[in-house]
Symmetry: C3
Subunit: 140 residues, 3 copies
């Protein structure tokens, strides 16, 4: 059994931005040849993160961006780069997500999409997609 | 190798509620026939989430409910349904959890239980349980 | 296929502390004989958690500790032990992490390290490391 991996590259366009990357990850799943299984999505950055939430209304992404912008306590930070709040926002959402795949695409709920959350952009970013399990979906 | 999945259905009873669903997930693990391995729990909703925390004292669940109710900054939200804070609370906890299974049940710490966190109920909800790995536990 | 597990023991030294445990987990990965694959890291405690973030500048860890110390709303908590904020901080970061392994070590971004976050110490703590997948990394 070999560990299959695919890298996705993104360009963010603002200091803080929430991008829907469901289509990009579904394209990677296609490239990996995975029909049914489980994938690990890993964000190798310390000021960006992944999450799943409502994708139908773009207002939700904008509300996310603005709420996270105020989520971290306004204390005096030591880290000299000045982006400590971005590091902490990224940790709140987390660096990795494990998601089911059915019929060759992320098996999400009706309203769900996958978000890439930029907290210290604009930057060139990447996401690593790994096949964790491959199988034939058998629902009970 | 086939991908095994079991759906769990829940009814929440309040706008905000924290339910201990350890027993329901252990029943699903039994139905899946898994003795030792790893499961993926996925919440296909955008205003509810899963977490693991203390289950011995029900006060902790109530403290969770009340703290999360105030966790999100009180900004003016754009999303017309008015439940943007519920979306953000769900994302803070996250849509999926990967957990170990030993001896046919979730392998949790002494005080831990699995919580389903409702942030926009009451609703009928579901959790998807996938077998990620099956094996014989060999501890070192 | 057997499920391989390794336990790591830690001693925390303060009520709130952020420790870099990348080296300890890499040692566990070596002991498990894993070269390329995916591991599940599970924290069996209800007032401590795991995350990945910048490890190059120790100031980031200190900023984390201080920001999380103020992250939870100051409400009146019911749980008699008085450590409800610690439970909630742990849930915000989450009890488990799934991470890729390449060339016998955690495959992290350039600036990333693995943090153990103590919110109710000092205590003797443990982390459970499970091999989820083993394979030969083939990047595309």
């Amino acid at each position: 059994m070999s560990l299959r991996k695919k890298e996705i590259f993104l360009q963010t366009r603002a200091a803080e931005e929430v991008q829907d990357i469901t289509a990009e990850v579904n394209a990677a799943i296609r490239d990996l040849g995975l029909r049914d299984g489980v994938v690990l999505l890993f964000c190798p950055h310390t000021t960006a993160a992944l999450t799943v939430n409502e994708s139908a209304d773009p207002d939700v992404r904008e509300d996310f961006r603005r709420a996270f912008s105020q989520m971290v306590p306004k204390i005096s930070f030591a880290h000299a780069e000045g982006n400590s709040p971005a590091h902490i926002r990224a940790a709140i959402l987390g660096p990795s997500l494990v998601l089911p795949v059915e019929d060759g695409r992320l098996a999400l709920g009706t309203w769900q999409g996958l978000y890439f959350c930029e907290f210290d952009g604009p930057r060139r970013r990447q996401i690593w997609v790994y096949v964790v399990v491959e199988g034939n979906a058998a629902q009970s």
